[in-house]
């Protein structure tokens, strides 16, 4: 008999009531939302912050002299301060507000790599990467003649460190690596990896879309040069994200996009760009979204990232023990250091068929290739079913998933 995890100091199950979307039935079952790695639900604190701004404070930022513009700017910039503190950036000038991880990575590819890369240079990624940490590099390689090389993983879904080290040579100008694999949950040993890259002076970008929601992130302690993440994976609004970059690198990079807000002076023969971080923030940003993201940071810090990490780890261990007890179930991704993301296959049931059957039981999971086709190919599967646990999930959610999986086996028996 598998016991549910005992209540511990990380018992944060009361947080579930902060999330309105979770208080509903789906297909006549309580909603068990196990798809936070795709997009996390938003707490009332975020929803209210966005609504308050929209109904009381909306105006454009950094432009008007009037009261509402001032308020909007204050709220927007306060969110930047919160994000700066969340990842321990050295200064707010290093916090570029973007539409998400994808834009953050493309910004680095086009503004940092494109002017710098030459034919014969290499960009190193891993088999674990999300498409958004593959395709921007392919594009810049095509533009510059550089080569994209890929470090392999083992059958647990962990990076093969020896082969990775062998690929780290002076030809590599940029290492782009995920903090946590979105498909398999693998937590990469970033300190070790970054330290090896730094010995060769290689610039390192970390795709932190799946890192920030699960654990404390300190960009200075990690020692990387860029860290990209998204708002909607960390209980904030969609269309928001951050690129943290070292000030010395950002200052030397040309703008990513031209437009309003990123300039100091515009003449037809020349333009003086704005200072950091505004040089990289052309056009009117997603003001309400970023203000909501600031509220999400407050919310996460009120619970404590360490408490969230412990809660999710304990629940993930329970999930794995229950999944292992189901005949015909194969875990995909069994890294020794794993976030609360679990892919699996059940018998020969296609993940999409399984996803439909689980949805009938009120269980929301992601099915398919998870925007990580190469790692699916590594495991020889067209896709997987993925349950990802957030701070609001409970033992009841896991139990509901397990019951639904047993039902799926009966349908396909």
């Amino acid at each position: 008999m598998i016991q549910a995890p005992a209540a511990s100091t990380a018992d944060i199950s009361c947080c579930r009531s902060d999330f309105p979307t979770l208080q509903q039935q789906v297909n006549a079952h309580p909603l068990a939302y196990l798809d936070s790695a795709a997009s996390a639900q938003q707490p009332t604190a975020v929803i209210d912050a966005v609504a308050r701004y929209q109904s009381e404070d909306h105006a454009n930022v950094h432009r008007g002299v009037h009261t509402l513009s001032h308020r909007a700017t204050e709220l927007y910039e306060a969110a930047r301060v919160k994000l700066c503190q969340l990842v321990n950036a050295a200064s707010q000038a290093e916090i570029i507000l973007t539409s998400g991880t994808t834009e953050s990575i493309n910004l680095v590819a086009q503004s940092y790599c494109r002017p710098m890369l030459q034919a014969g240079d290499q960009i190193l990624i891993t088999w674990l990467e999300h498409h958004s940490n593959i395709v921007p590099w392919q594009l810049v390689c095509e533009q510059t003649g550089a080569e994209l090389i890929v470090a392999p993983v083992n059958d647990r879904g962990e990076l093969e460190l020896d082969e990775f080290r062998a690929m780290l040579t002076e030809r590599v100008k940029l290492l782009a690596i995920g903090h946590v694999s979105n498909a398999l949950g693998t937590i990469n040993p970033l300190r070790e990896i970054i330290s090896a890259a730094k010995k060769l002076g290689i610039v390192v970008l970390v795709d932190g879309a799946q890192g920030v929601p699960h654990m404390d992130v300190d960009v200075q302690a990690l020692g990387c040069d860029f860290y990209a993440f998204s708002g909607h994976k960390m209980y904030g609004p969609t269309g928001t994200g951050v690129l943290w970059g070292r000030e010395s690198l950002l200052a030397a990079m040309p703008p990513y996009q031209g437009g309003g807000d990123m300039i100091l002076e515009v003449h037809f023969d020349s333009t003086v760009f704005n200072e950091l971080p505004y040089k990289f923030e052309a056009g009117t940003p997603n003001i309400s979204g970023i203000i909501g993201l600031g509220a999400a940071v407050d919310y996460l810090q009120s619970i404590g990232m360490q408490n969230i990490y412990e809660h999710e780890q304990s629940l993930h261990a329970y999930l794995v023990s229950k999944l292992n007890a189901i005949a015909g179930l194969r875990l995909i991704g069994t890294a020794r250091n794993q976030a609360s993301v679990q892919s699996f296959m059940l018998d020969d049931i296609h993940p999409h068929d399984l996803g439909t059957i689980l949805d009938h039981q009120g269980v929301a999971v992601r099915t398919g290739h998870h925007c990580a086709m190469p790692v699916m190919q590594h495991f020889g599967v067209p896709g997987t079913t993925r349950a990802s646990l957030g701070l609001y999930n409970t033992v009841d959610d896991v139990d509901q998933l397990i019951r639904a999986l047993e039902k799926a086996r009966r349908v396909f028996a």
Partner: protein, 159 residues
């Protein structure tokens, strides 16, 4: 929706005939003398198949086969397609594409009579109508059929 209706709905989608075709697809092969072929891919899903047709001098489909991988709905649909189009004229086969894609997207069941279009057994696929996200799984093979008949060089998709 109560639990009885829930069970009924699932059984509608995964009828025995669909599961049977998905487990043991018919004509899962590449005919040696195939004259027409097209690939169908739903990139978001990952469902992927290649459809082959043998069309004789009288513009009649004398054989059909497919290869690929995907969910039970997409594989069953492709399997049934290969049985349904055999012995149809090219015009009749192409009419099956428009009929099936229209029918599977229709909210109202029974608006088309499959018997009149000689598509036996395909009524079972109508269960996807209650599952909007799965309609594209059922229509993928039919899009590939249309592309093959048109000698289209582009990959067909129903997403």
């Amino acid at each position: 929706m109560n639990n009885a209706a829930d069970r009924h709905d699932l059984q509608e989608l995964y009828r025995e005939v669909i599961l049977h075709h998905a487990r043991t697809p018919r004509n899962f092969r590449c005919p040696e003398n195939a004259t027409h072929t097209a690939e169908g891919i739903n990139p978001m899903c990952g469902d992927k198949l290649r459809l082959y047709l043998v069309i004789d001098a009288n513009e009649r489909v004398v054989d059909a086969g497919f290869e690929g991988s995907g969910c039970a709905i997409s594989m069953a649909s492709a399997s049934m397609l290969t049985e349904a189009v055999r012995n149809l004229s090219v015009v009749e086969a192409d009419a099956c594409f428009s009929t099936m894609t229209r029918r599977l997207n229709q909210a109202l069941p029974g608006c088309e009579t499959p018997a009149a279009l000689k598509l036996p057994g395909l009524q079972a696929l109508d269960g996807v109508r209650a599952h909007p996200s799965r309609i594209k799984c059922a229509t993928l093979a039919w899009h590939a059929l249309h592309a093959a008949l048109e000698h289209s060089q582009t990959v067909a998709t129903s997403e």
